[in-house]
């Protein structure tokens, strides 16, 4: 077992704080790499909450809740004016 693992192959939790900027810069930022990152995130969520023997409604309702939050952030500018205030 090598005593020093090269920086590129370390996972995020094993990277020391001093090494963080160089670790970030070494990540794959090509379109294929970014798509791979989204794919890995999707697979992680899917295999944890949906692709199980007794999947519950929590799997999909977390996605819908995130969708609500996303849309709220998107339309905050117009929603600001709909608060219950005496003077707008």
């Amino acid at each position: 077992m090598a005593s020093v693992v090269p920086l590129k192959e370390k996972k995020l939790m094993d990277v020391k704080i001093g090494e963080l900027p160089s670790w970030i810069l070494m990540r794959d930022f090509t379109p294929g790499g970014i798509f791979g990152a989204f794919r890995r995130g999707y697979d992680r969520y899917y295999n944890k909450y949906v692709n199980v023997k007794k999947g519950s409604i929590a799997g999909i309702s977390m996605v819908l809740a995130a969708y609500v939050v996303f849309n709220y952030c998107r339309s905050y500018k117009e929603l600001k004016h709909e608060r219950l205030r005496k003077y707008h």
Partner: protein, 226 residues
Amino acid sequence: MNENLFASFITPTMMGLPIVILIIALPAMLYPSPNRLVDNRLISIQQWLVQLILKQMLLIHNVKGRTWSLMLISLILFIGSTNLLGLIPYSFTPTTQLSMNLGMAIPLWAGTVITGFRYKTKSSLAHFLPQGTPTLLIPMLVVIETISLFIQPMALAVRLTANITAGHLLMRLIGGATLALTAISPATASITFIVLLLLTILEFAVALIQAYVFTLLVSLYLHDNT
């Protein structure tokens, strides 16, 4: 009030980037594809639903019409899930935009008409003249039938747009009225709240029904022409 009422129908862009593309692509991401013989619950429910719709919808078609089955099932699933996702608070419904519905209706209708003209030319042209019309009325009736043929895609698109938009608008108005009435007289507010509940139940039904109607009509036009 005037500007806020229609603010939810503006196509969402964030700093110039059209996020509406992400919103249109979202329903597709909620349907995972089957990998095994017996999958997880979400995929099993989805497969059962698709089987149900498929059997019901493709009974009336012959072999030629059944080549359209993938298109029709995708259509009803897309419109149904887009409408249902639009009932989530703060979300944007792509089917409220006439441009998108026209983009769905015109190619599908044109496809059915062109299929009819290509394979059964005489029979398709014969649709323009119902049986048993008096000879004098023939020119006028041909004109009327042509108009009714060309209005089919417009009716498809406008029906979907108007139904979904009207439902969302009504919910917004009655919700705003309920909120304003709670300060003035809570009894009337509870009445409007019950109206809002009923309307929400109706909207769920309308979301699904509109999908069904759209697909059914396309399949009917197909049946005429195959």
